[in-house]
């Protein structure tokens, strides 16, 4: 009953927003805590197999930048599904992660071209708002795929950012039962993903009681800044037992600092994202672990969700995509490029 009510509310909200071309009717989205949500693994069970798309279906993807492996991989995921089902895909990206206006132009230019759905990965929470509103007015469904969260987005597919930090904290709680001092290397201040990852880690590990977060400093996603910050922290707290970095680039900087300080044996280092360099470093024994959010698989799921929406399925506002803690013990299981095998491994978890 509650669900039907919610659905009716959502439909009326959409109708209202169409007539008024306004986005104020939905509560501002918080992708981690939005109650109207489901996990990707329940899609088939709740809504059945993926409905085949109509002939000539066109989907447009607007991504952050192709200079970052993560966004290239996400596009690969879109393309996998598009190729398999005969959907035409246009995947465009801005020139760099700071290019907010350029990305907006790209998104606006795509709207005029008759796409059946658009997948947006915005540079910031606000920069694609006009495009979202224009698409809404044109009746084109828009999916906000990962990272920055547009508050007025009706559909979001992505990672539970807080879960990344929680996963790492749980590793420490299980594997370092005596507790100790830990430190966090944060991403850019004010960025949603960075704040949530840090909060997930800090809250979980503090709740365990035996740990102390002695430092939590921003390194702005930069490997070099992370190296410097970690070197300083290690000097100040020689008995530190671990670092959690908000992304893999920074974690790899921390690894170098830990090695330079001769503490590779005693200090565990974790990253987030699961880029290929991180996998290599885990195999080499340099990086203790990372939380992989499987960008290719995320891309596939986002594309599938857009096809389900086109088929009229009443999906919840947020569909959470998979993530898993990768360490030396399971690195080979998750390193596979065979997406079917990866799905099976994640579903079995």
């Amino acid at each position: 009953m509650k669900h039907i009510l919610k659905g009716a509310l959502a439909v009326s909200a959409i109708a209202l927003s169409l007539t008024m071309a306004q986005a104020q009717d939905l509560a501002p989205l918080n992708s981690d805590s939005e109650p109207d949500r489901m996990d990707w693994s329940e899609l088939d069970a709740k809504f059945g197999a993926l409905p085949p798309p109509a002939a000539g279906t066109k989907v447009g993807g607007v991504s952050k930048t192709l200079t970052n492996e993560y966004w290239r991989s996400l596009g690969e995921g879109y393309q996998n599904v598009a190729t398999k089902l005969g959907v035409e895909l246009v995947y465009q990206a801005a020139q760099n992660e700071g290019d907010q206006l350029g990305q907006l132009s790209i998104a606006e230019n795509l709207i005029s071209q008759g796409f059946n759905a658009l997948l947006f990965s915005p540079q910031s929470d606000a920069n694609l708002v006009p495009a979202l509103e224009a698409a809404k007015a044109a009746g084109i469904p828009v999916l906000n795929v990962n990272d920055a969260v547009i508050p007025s987005a009706e559909h979001y597919v992505g990672n539970v950012q807080k879960g990344n930090g929680v996963n790492v904290a749980n590793w420490f709680i299980t594997n370092r039962p005596d507790g100790g001092k830990v430190a966090v290397i944060e991403g850019q201040p004010g960025v949603y993903a960075a704040g949530q990852r840090t909060a997930g880690f800090t809250e979980t590990i503090n709740a365990a009681g035996k740990f102390e977060v002695v430092a939590s400093v921003p390194a702005n996603w930069s490997r070099e800044e992370a190296f410097n910050a970690a070197a300083t922290i290690l000097q100040q707290y020689p008995d530190l037992i671990g670092f959690y970095a908000n992304n893999d680039g920074m974690a790899l900087g921390v690894v170098e600092a830990v090695k330079a300080a001769g503490k590779a044996e005693t200090v565990a280092v974790f990253g987030t994202d699961g880029v290929s360099d991180a996998y290599a470093a885990i195999r080499a024994g340099d990086l203790t672990g990372t939380v992989d959010s499987f960008p290719v698989l995320t891309g596939e799921i986002a594309m599938e969700v857009s096809l389900r929406l086109m088929a009229g399925q009443p999906l919840p506002r947020v569909v959470a995509t998979p993530q898993a803690l990768i360490t030396k013990d399971n690195v080979e299981t998750y390193a596979t490029t065979d997406m079917a095998a990866l799905r099976a491994a994640l579903l079995a978890k």
Partner: protein
């Protein structure tokens, strides 16, 4: 004096010809390109850069450079948005935000003229300084929830033309009048062309430079208002690399970074060329890396043509 004006007009015709050529190529490649909504789209998307580039053109003509425009825009955006969200009446909040822009321009100008520092270095410092202030003020998070009353100003249209395009059009005419019909315009040209000669001829060099940077700050604030109206939010990180787009547009339009030369119509066409390139290449589904390549080639080709034609005339 007459030859200078005829030369600039000749140069503007060249820039326009470039725009027509580029448009013809895109029109042949994409059915969507020449539709009215798409052309309006291009103008709309070019407004922010045009706004910044108009101020930049005046600064460049006066022999300077303003690298701080993006962060100035960000600072006036967050302060303006904070006022709007706090319930300050819309005209007052806009005036406040524009005053922030002018004040930043004043600081730049004061350091350059009275402080005797180089424009490149001063505004490079400003680039970090104003960005830092915007970040510190907001704690890094965007300000959402701008009133609809304010957003209606930037999202409305007049006879099918978006309001921002009209605003920038009016500002461009104003800039043209200042540059070509007032003593201040002659001062800009004189100070940029030969500061020593200008000083001896009795041109108020300090005030002229001051005016250029304050206008540039004002235009950055106007661009900020247009953008936050469209986005419905102000972000302290907005405006990254705006200075380079504006310099590129001014250069394509015929401004000389040595000072003393530049054109308002040329800069506007330069902005539209950059906007058209981005629009057309997206319609043709050309990837970002190649779009960057095309932009670079256009700038260099424009400079080469500039060199060749000025050689002929000189």
């Amino acid at each position: 004096m007459k030859t200078v004006f005829s030369r600039i007009r000749f140069r503007d015709a060249g820039t326009l010809l470039g725009l027509i050529l580029i448009s013809a190529v895109f029109a042949a490649q994409s059915d969507t390109f020449l539709t009215t909504p798409n052309l309006v789209n291009i103008l709309q998307q070019s407004t922010i850069n045009a706004c910044i580039a108009l101020g930049m053109t005046l600064v460049i003509i006066s022999g300077g450079i303003d690298l701080s425009v993006g962060p100035v825009a960000a600072l006036s955006a967050v302060l303006g948005a904070a006022m709007l969200v706090a319930g300050v009446p819309v005209p007052l909040a806009i005036a406040g935000a524009l005053a922030v822009g002018v004040a930043c321009g004043f600081v730049n100008g004061a350091l350059i003229t009275w402080g005797g520092l180089q424009p490149f270095i001063v505004t490079l410092g400003g680039l970090s300084l104003y960005r830092a202030l915007a970040l510190i003020y907001t704690g890094g998070t965007p300000i959402f929830g701008l009133p609809d009353e304010f957003r209606a100003l930037t999202n409305g249209t007049l006879m099918g033309i978006p309001n921002p395009v009209i605003v920038v059009g009016v500002l461009a005419i104003a800039a043209w009048v200042i540059l070509n019909k007032t003593p201040l315009g002659e001062y800009f040209m004189a100070v940029g062309g030969n500061p020593e000669a200008a000083r001896i001829a009795g041109v108020p060099v300090t005030l002229t430079k001051m005016a250029a940077y304050m206008i540039s700050g004002l235009m950055a604030a106007v661009a900020a208002m247009i953008l936050i109206g469209r986005l419905g939010a102000a972000e302290p990180t907005m405006g990254t690399l705006w200075e380079l787009d504006a310099i590129a547009a001014a250069a394509i339009g015929g401004a000389s970074l040595m000072g003393g030369r530049g054109s308002i119509p040329g800069t506007l066409i330069g902005c539209i060329i950059l906007g058209t390139l981005r629009n057309g290449l997206t319609l043709m589904n050309v990837q970002a890396f190649y779009q960057l390549l095309a932009t670079g080639i256009i700038i260099i080709v424009a400079m080469l043509i500039d060199k060749v034609t000025s050689g002929k005339e000189g």
